[in-house]
């Protein structure tokens, strides 16, 4: 319990620090009037907004108001769309989560078998190729791989559409692509693009983990008991390689959401990353600020969940921290 409490406190401190930094960037470094008031507004409107925002108040008062508004979910109103910035982001959130979840699934689907293969047969040619491919997977710039996927599968072969989200279906109040064939066709390339780096990472982790497990006494004992090789691998080697995979992937969830900005821009996937880039290009500051604060909150929650999951998977962590 104290463990959870401590993580919650840490999360609160991170959020507070981020809000202070964003506040500083907005109010202290830049001119808040320029940033928060639509430059096209007439002078009377501008004056009214300045008074309404309380920009004549002392700085710490302003920060308190800023925090209070943020806590109530008021992150400003979009200049371009004229609606609350937070609602714009929440509207786009399901698309991003769907993309990130699909990418994570693909990364595990590709990474675990390949990593296991390379770990169990470290000297075979296939394992060397897998190792080289994972090195390349780290070095290849993700956005460029996205373009090349479009070039090959959409332009040359014309198998898949180059972008967009395709047909969606309402499930539990969310419109998702994974329930329609057309949606799948649109989802496949961006998800693969986002998954490649993570797949390379999973290969590394599983390969190192299974090599290490093979040398352990419990594996030798399982073999001595006369278990079949497949039982040894699925029952003893694999589970022990998965703990670091869960930890690292948990830490990488945030990166997945951040890199979705790039993938969504390349494939025109209408998630919150594309919203951010559109907002940056249109100088729609409230949406940019709202995205940053929302992403920070999302990361804090994700990190917390991963810590809890990790404690549940590995009893040593739980014991050690109580």
């Amino acid at each position: 319990m104290t463990f959870i409490l401590r993580r919650l406190l840490h999360g609160a401190w991170v959020l507070l620090a981020v809000s202070a930094l964003v506040f500083a960037a907005l109010y202290v470094v830049g001119n808040p009037v320029e940033l928060l008031v639509d430059p096209q507004a007439d002078p009377a409107d501008t004056a009214r907004t300045i008074a309404a925002l309380g920009l004549d108040q002392p700085l710490w008062c302003q920060y308190r108001t800023f925090l209070g508004n943020a806590a109530r979910g008021d992150l400003g109103t979009s200049f371009i769309h004229g609606v609350p910035a937070l609602s714009l982001i929440l509207e786009r959130l399901p698309a991003t989560l769907e993309l990130a979840a699909s990418a994570l699934f693909l990364a595990l689907l590709l990474g675990i078998p390949l990593g296991l293969w390379a770990g169990l047969r470290p000297t075979s040619l296939a394992s060397r190729l897998i190792g080289a491919a994972s090195t390349l997977g780290f070095a290849l710039p993700a956005f460029w791989v996205g373009l090349m996927l479009i070039l090959v599968f959409a332009v040359q072969l014309q198998w898949l559409p180059p972008g967009g989200r395709g047909e969606t279906r309402e499930v539990l109040g969310l419109s998702l692509s994974i329930f329609t064939l057309d949606g799948w066709r649109h989802l496949l390339l961006p998800a693969l693009n986002l998954a490649l780096y993570k797949a390379a990472l999973v290969v590394r982790l599983v390969r190192a983990g299974s090599r290490e497990a093979l040398a352990q006494d419990y594996v030798r004992f399982a073999r001595a008991k006369g278990l079949t090789e497949s039982r040894v691998v699925t029952g003893h080697v694999l589970p022990n390689t998965l703990i670091p995979v869960v930890t690292v992937l948990g830490m990488e969830l945030g990166a997945l959401i951040a890199f979705a900005v790039v993938t969504e821009t390349v494939f025109g996937w209408p998630g919150m990353g594309k919203l951010l880039m559109d907002a940056i290009n249109a100088l729609d500051r409230p949406v940019v600020v709202a995205y940053l604060l929302f992403a920070a909150a999302l990361f804090v929650v994700l990190n917390l969940l991963v810590e809890l999951l990790y404690g549940w998977l590995d009893p040593r962590v739980r014991e050690g921290r109580q």
């Binding site: 964003v22 070095a139 993700a142 956005f143 190192a208 940019v288």
Partner: protein
């Protein structure tokens, strides 16, 4: 990574061993081998050295050999825009790799772009290393409240992906390459600070530091002449790894339109320029700069792995 455990079966072709990679080189001449010889003692090291030389030569000698100055508007002919590879230029000569949408010779633009990418990423990572080392060393040396503050700030940076931090800074401050370098530094310094602090903590407890302290040397001298040199190896190992990451990051930011301006394209910007014409099959504007970018990142990553293996004494023994 987690491969520091000495391999029981040394494999002869370690190209595939990659990241934690570099199977410990059998030390041929244990006493006289110079650093470079040790570095290139196995095929992975030789490959890394070759690719690194190729990248650096392209970036820093290439601009003198390039057929065109892509930053000089007078040298560009807009009528030559988007010609496929091996087309003849209006002014004579050939566009070996084609031309881009402003009529730039793509090969020349790539060579200049690589130099720009390396310079910006190098500046950002260098700054991150300086800042991180200064904060980390003083944190480990002085301890107390200062240490807690530095660690808390580093924690804060590390709880967000580098891309997001850089993106946030550029979104709030506007685009431009100097800002990209600063954003790279701001999103990378914590890695250096963490390991500098860890090294400083270990080194501070050693006898030579106690001896130096007893001589009544000033803090500045202790930090600069005694602590810093002994804390360098771990920093040298992360430096090239972060540089490779910074090159990718700069390319990504420039691709998103937050980095290099259209008139002086880095590799990421060149790829972005080609994006608009990809669907009409004019692939070369995006393809070739991306290949060069991959070459540069691979070269530096492999060299970083090899450097880590050479600098780690435990792997030398194996």
């Amino acid at each position: 990574m987690s491969e520091s455990r000495p391999d029981s079966t040394p494999t002869p072709t370690p190209i595939s061993t990659s990241a934690g990679g570099g199977v410990a080189a059998p030390c041929m001449s244990r006493f006289s081998s110079s650093f470079l010889a040790r570095f290139a003692a196995n095929p992975a090291g030789k490959l890394a050295l070759l690719l690194l030389a190729l990248t650096l030569l392209t970036a820093f000698a290439g601009p003198f050999l390039a057929p065109q100055d892509p930053y000089d508007p007078a040298a560009l002919d807009i009528l030559d825009a988007r010609l496929p590879p091996a087309s003849a230029a209006a002014a004579g000569g050939t566009y070996l790799l084609g031309s881009d949408e402003q009529g730039r010779d793509l090969l020349s633009a790539m060579v200049y772009g690589l130099r720009l990418s390396l310079l910006v990423a190098g500046a950002g990572t260098g700054l991150a290393c300086l800042l991180g080392a200064a904060l980390g060393l003083t944190a480990g040396y002085f301890g107390g409240r200062w240490e807690r503050l530095v660690l808390a700030l580093a924690d804060l940076q590390l709880s967000f992906p580098a891309l997001l931090i850089a993106l946030a800074l550029l979104a709030l401050s506007g685009p431009g390459l100097p800002k990209v370098a600063l954003a790279l530094a701001a999103s990378q310094w914590a890695y250096f600070a963490r390991s500098a602090r860890a090294a400083a903590l270990v080194e501070s407890g050693k006898d030579y530091m106690a001896a130096a302290r007893l001589q009544g040397l000033s803090h500045a001298r202790l930090l600069w002449r005694h602590l810093l040199p002994n804390c360098l190896p771990p920093l040298l190992v992360i430096l090239p790894l972060q540089l490779a990451a910074a090159i990718s990051l700069e390319a990504t930011l420039s691709f998103l339109g937050l980095g290099a301006p259209a008139t002086e394209p880095s590799l990421g910007r060149l790829i972005a320029n080609g994006f608009a014409y990809l669907l009409s099959g004019q692939y070369w504007i995006s393809l070739y700069p991306g290949l060069l970018l991959t070459l540069a990142v691979t070269a530096i990553t492999l060299a970083a792995d090899r450097l880590a293996a050479v600098l780690d004494p435990r792997r030398q023994e194996g």
